[in-house]
């Protein structure tokens, strides 16, 4: 363990803010997080499957923050395109790559995911398979350069399976476990992995759901918390912070009782 710490401490020095890649930037959380990085002087590469919107977001970020922003097309479900996508990101970052944010994700109503296998499968494909596909490629790069961070946006839904969203929950549990292992592997290379577990954030994923107002964070507040957690090299960040305690309570209910509950 002390050995690893020493290795981590000798990781390549970083000179000023470099480039951060935000994938799935049409998510309001990811867009706001891109804005946090830009505000702190990072250049950006932003990507999503909607190139028109990605361009609009890229222009906005560069007008607001006077940083360089490149936009790219990214489709999570066409795995064969990922290698070229990652190579191009690395090339365009031009040696200044600081880290990557996995902001894409997919959720449909539980009842739909139960009834339609293709929806269940898409949930896994986007949240798990695509995350692994992309992160493995960046991990290899970061291992060679011995610097970088990976921020994965998982969910509190992965902490415990509930009848109301266990298919999405299962995908997020897999994502959380994956990021945990990746963190363990990359630690010795000085590469940081942050698992973000949002509770409720006011985005198009949750718009219209009957959520308890006071528990819902704005995307901007969530982004600030994520940025700070990454700066502080936190491993897991519940966003907002109080969700750690909500999930602690939910997690502590014995299964024989939990299975009878409606949550």
């Amino acid at each position: 363990m002390s050995n690893s710490v020493a290795i981590a401490a000798t990781a390549a020095p970083v000179s000023g803010p470099g480039t951060v890649i935000v994938i799935g930037v049409t998510s309001a959380i990811a867009r706001a997080l891109a804005g946090e990085f830009a505000k702190h002087g990072h250049d950006l590469i932003v990507a999503s499957r909607d190139i028109e919107e990605t361009n609009a977001i890229a222009t906005d970020l560069s007008v607001r923050h006077n940083v360089k922003v490149i936009s790219k097309y990214f489709e999570a479900e066409i795995f064969g395109t990922h290698a070229t996508f990652v190579d191009e990101c690395i090339r365009d970052a031009n040696g200044s790559l600081d880290g990557v944010v996995i902001g894409f994700g997919f959720m449909d109503e539980q009842s739909v995911a139960e009834a339609k296998f293709e929806v269940a499968r898409r949930t896994i494909d986007v949240n798990v398979t695509a995350t692994i596909s992309v992160c493995e490629k960046f991990a290899t790069q970061f291992e060679t350069t011995r610097r970088g961070f990976i921020i994965g946006i998982s969910s509190v839904a992965g902490d415990r399976g509930r009848q109301t969203n266990y298919i999405y929950g299962a995908s997020k549990a897999a994502m959380t476990t994956y990021l945990q292992g990746l963190r363990n592997r990359l630690f010795k290379s000085g590469v940081h992995v942050l698992t973000v577990k949002p509770g409720f954030v006011d985005t198009k994923m949750t718009f219209g759901l009957p959520l308890p107002g006071p528990l819902v964070a704005t995307p901007e507040a969530a982004a600030r918390a994520i940025y700070n957690a990454n700066e502080a090299k936190k491993n897991t960040a519940y966003v907002p912070w109080f969700w750690r305690y909500i999930m602690l309570i939910i997690g502590s209910i014995p299964e024989f009782q939990f299975k009878k509950m409606k949550l």
Partner: protein, 456 residues
């Protein structure tokens, strides 16, 4: 199908509160998709919901929240010209451009307002007597018309559509983007001169005498004071401080101290605000603002004192309140006096009354300001409020004054038409742009701008 949520929503005054189908597109195409889908009989755009009354609610129809379409598109650093989507807030513009030496050309008393909302109500600020309305600083608008086409309009191109849209309360189309001219500043600070005035006559005289010397001017008026003290007030006149005039203790001239925000987490019991407590507040305000010159304050404190307390509107309790803003032409000053007398006699105390001299109006067909005097006050919702406001409306109309769409919640069609004589021209352009009547709001129906029952 574009997802909507049924919500009970209201303007900033919390009254009236009605159920609407709320859409919140996050992509540029989203608005057109909602309109084209046509699942609701009609729609209205809504920005940050800072209008007090019912101008951005639409019972029995759709409400399109534009706040997620808030991307900036281009900024010309030399000319200070910003192109942005209509959902960008004035707060975002200030945050981005004050540090670069640019300020809003015109700002209302809150920065939590969208560019779309500022254009649609053609808002005015403390510099109206010098700089006119927000719409007069707009170079260009791209408008999604109700039939689904996107047109560009400006004071030179599609001029009629432009001046119907400026102040057009969302009824001509959905503003997608706007190009606005910011003004140069060298510091983020304002120097303010305070002048106490013992009554209304003294105040009007002070404003007439000093207004042209200041870019910004507004007076706080004590509505409780009666008789000889009627109109007891503090006139606050200000100008931007030049960087080289700013004492060094303020640090970097273009940045201001960060403030923590206070919040009113829930509706306070209505009885907290009663004539006694408001009277006490008003006395206190007068006492702590003796006449003094050259007070330096940052732009946030000067322009947006209420923004420091989030959800301050909940202070009026769950019944909400109406805001009432009436503007009288110069020869209607008597109406202003009568309105103040009526209010102070009614016991429907106002927490905040603000008086300002307005300059000439803009070309906006339904734009509010006219050369004269404008008085703004809050009136808590209590029994008899509708009758009280309708009586006040009659009084305002009698003196050729008019009420402001951003604040209004009760005005009747005959009265509105009398106040806004260009309504006929507006209706003609609206009919051309929106033959099927796809854009409508509670206010539009209530004031007879658009046909249909006020509520379903």
């Amino acid at each position: 199908m574009p997802a909507h949520v049924k919500q009970k929503i209201a303007g900033w005054g919390g009254w009236p509160r009605v159920e609407c189908a709320v859409f919140r597109p996050e992509k540029r195409r989203g608005i057109a998709d909602v309109l084209a889908n046509g699942e609701q009989p009609h729609y209205i755009a809504r920005g940050l919901g800072r209008s007090y009354g019912d101008v951005a609610v639409n019972p029995g129809g759709g409400v399109i929240n534009t706040t997620r379409l808030n991307r900036m598109i281009a900024f010309d650093e030399n000319a200070g010209v910003l192109e942005c989507e209509a959902g960008v807030s004035l707060e975002e513009i200030l945050e981005t451009f004050v540090p670069r030496g640019w300020f809003l050309p015109v700002t209302p008393g809150t920065k939590f307002v969208t560019v779309g909302g500022a254009i649609a109500n053609d808002v005015h600020g403390k510099n109206h007597h010098i700089d006119g309305t927000f719409g007069e600083h707009v170079d260009r608008i791209t408008l999604l018309t109700p039939t689904g086409s996107i047109i560009t309009c400006s004071p030179k191109q599609n001029e009629d559509v432009f001046w119907a849209t400026v102040g057009g309360i969302g009824l001509t189309g959905i503003i997608l983007t706007a190009t606005i001219r910011l003004q140069r500043i060298t510091s983020a600070y304002i120097k303010v001169d305070y002048r106490q005035c013992t009554n209304l006559d003294a105040l009007l005289a002070a404003i007439r005498e000093t207004d042209d010397k200041y870019k910004y001017s507004v007076a706080w008026v004590d509505c409780i004071a009666k008789g000889a003290k009627l109109g007891r007030s503090v006139l606050m006149s200000g100008d931007h401080v030049a960087a080289n005039e700013l004492p060094s203790q303020y640090g970097h001239a273009l940045s201001i101290p960060h403030k923590s925000k206070k919040n009113v987490p829930f509706n306070l019991p209505g009885f907290l605000l009663n004539p006694l407590s408001i009277g006490a507040f008003n006395k206190l305000f007068y006492a702590v603002h003796p006449s003094k010159q050259g007070q330096i304050t940052d732009y946030d404190k000067y322009f947006y004192p209420l923004d420091a307390i989030h959800n301050w509107n909940r202070g009026y309790g769950k019944n909400g309140f109406a805001q009432y803003q009436a503007t009288f032409p110069h020869d209607g000053v008597e109406g202003l006096v009568k309105l103040l007398e009526k209010l102070s006699a009614s016991g429907r105390a106002s927490f905040l009354a603000v008086l300002k001299r307005m300059g000439p109006g803009s070309k906006g067909l339904l734009s509010h300001p006219i050369d004269g005097w404008t008085l703004t006050l809050d009136i808590p919702v209590k029994d008899g409020i509708v009758q009280f406001l309708n009586e006040s409306d009659e009084l305002v109309a009698q003196y050729n004054g008019r009420l402001y769409t951003a604040k209004d919640s009760c005005t009747r069609p005959e009265v509105f038409a009398a106040m806004y004589p260009r309504i006929k021209e507006f209706k003609a352009i609206k009919a051309k742009l929106d033959p099927a009547g796809k854009l409508s709001s509670r206010l539009a129906r209530r004031c007879g701008i658009v046909e249909g029952p006020v509520e379903p």
